[in-house]
Symmetry: C2
Subunit: 238 residues, 2 copies
């Protein structure tokens, strides 16, 4: 059986080398949820970049530019990091450049992986179906919050581990912990997450609707795949 | 209220600066369990050191020398890392030098803390009573396994958080996760931990009796405190 590991933050990635594996990058609140939503609502491709400057440079080349720092949109960008902003407006056919506190960094750090895909509750079945069709070992990489462990990404990792449990070897302690947390709290994820720091941060910023959306399962039947610096929807995988 | 944070591995300590805090170093399988047992059974003091060479050097000066690598005792030392070895023999009045894969490193990395104490299930009430009597913020530092998160140290952190929950602010997501894991599995800790990698490692090495001992609560009413490079029992704290 193939292995399934969970890495709670990109800071610990050194212990789980991505080489040969499929890495699922997870940033539930909100980067990976927003990536899935953007591609499902007409955005042609997403270029994740590390810095605000790189994002600006692409904006100057005609990209739509989304940026987030401390949960907010810095000045001079087209979009922040709310998935709902991609539903409310029509950006069809545009290319999106994106920089966020955690999610884009997690992608950059995984570049040696065999494949990188994007996971969120809103596309969880697409993620799981894709993983089931591949023979590679699986690394569920939680983006965390500025290097710290967070609950919402761990919970999603647990949800994936839960569904795949009979088909994979749960191969590290973090995966067992995530699995148990999900199994205990799957019926009331919001209730569990309300004690989380980022949940509070988003609530303070008036983003309760974002939270609600980020915890919906299978809103979209779409899997973003990262190749040559760009995320695009792999529609035929579903 | 004072804050209680959990750090899942010393590799993430940079996000939880120990300054001004009481750090509880946790290495359930087996370093901190062994430290408590050694001091409870007559060892006068413990000098934790990082390398086998430093441990050897102290052995040459007359210290009893305990060493562990990969769960086993390297050649030429007096003791490995089994807590039971301190019950079976009489080492009363001796000074112990000790180097282990994870626990001693966690102590070394916490040196900027206001206070460092040693926690294990076998002295959990002594740990909690001491924390209750101090005004400092609390950092529960899991030693982990070579930088990786492990279940048994996280579970102990959750047990401490559970008992203190009404008196402290649970101040980071790792603490909430540990708390929930403990609350779910407190009645069957061994059942939960049997899926953990280090549990398996110890079983393979024939150390099932060690595991059983390491999960007993309150075998000793003793708190090891680290001061000026040495661990000694703070008997009067109980």
């Amino acid at each position: 059986m193939k292995n399934l590991e969970v890495c709670f933050t990109p800071d610990l990635l050194t212990y789980y080398p991505p080489e040969g594996k499929i890495v699922v990058v997870i940033d539930i609140f909100r980067a990976t949820t927003t990536m899935v939503t953007a591609l499902a609502n007409g955005i042609e491709s997403i270029t994740p970049v590390a810095s605000l400057e790189e994002c600006k440079a692409l904006q100057n080349q005609g990209y739509l530019a989304a940026a987030e720092r401390e949960g907010k949109m810095p000045e001079g960008f087209d979009l922040g990091n709310s998935p709902l902003s991609h539903i409310e407006q029509d950006f069809s056919g545009q290319k999106l450049a994106m920089t966020t506190s955690n999610g884009t960094l997690a992608i950059t750090k995984s570049k040696t992986a065999d494949q990188i895909i994007i996971g969120a509750f809103i596309n969880i079945s697409a993620v799981i179906q894709y993983l089931q069709g591949q023979s590679n070992d699986i690394l569920l990489l939680c983006a965390g919050w500025k290097g710290r462990v967070n609950m919402e990404d761990s919970l999603f990792a647990g949800a994936v581990a839960h569904t795949l449990a009979s088909e994979v070897t749960i191969a590290n302690d973090a995966a067992v912990m995530a699995l148990h947390l999900y199994q205990t709290h799957q019926e009331n994820m919001a209730g569990f997450l309300k004690d989380g720091l980022h949940y509070h941060r988003l609530q303070r910023l008036g983003r309760s609707e974002d939270i609600e959306f980020c915890l919906k399962k299978d809103v979209y039947d779409l899997l973003p795949i990262y190749q040559q610096g760009i995320l695009m929807a792999k529609a035929e995988s579903i």
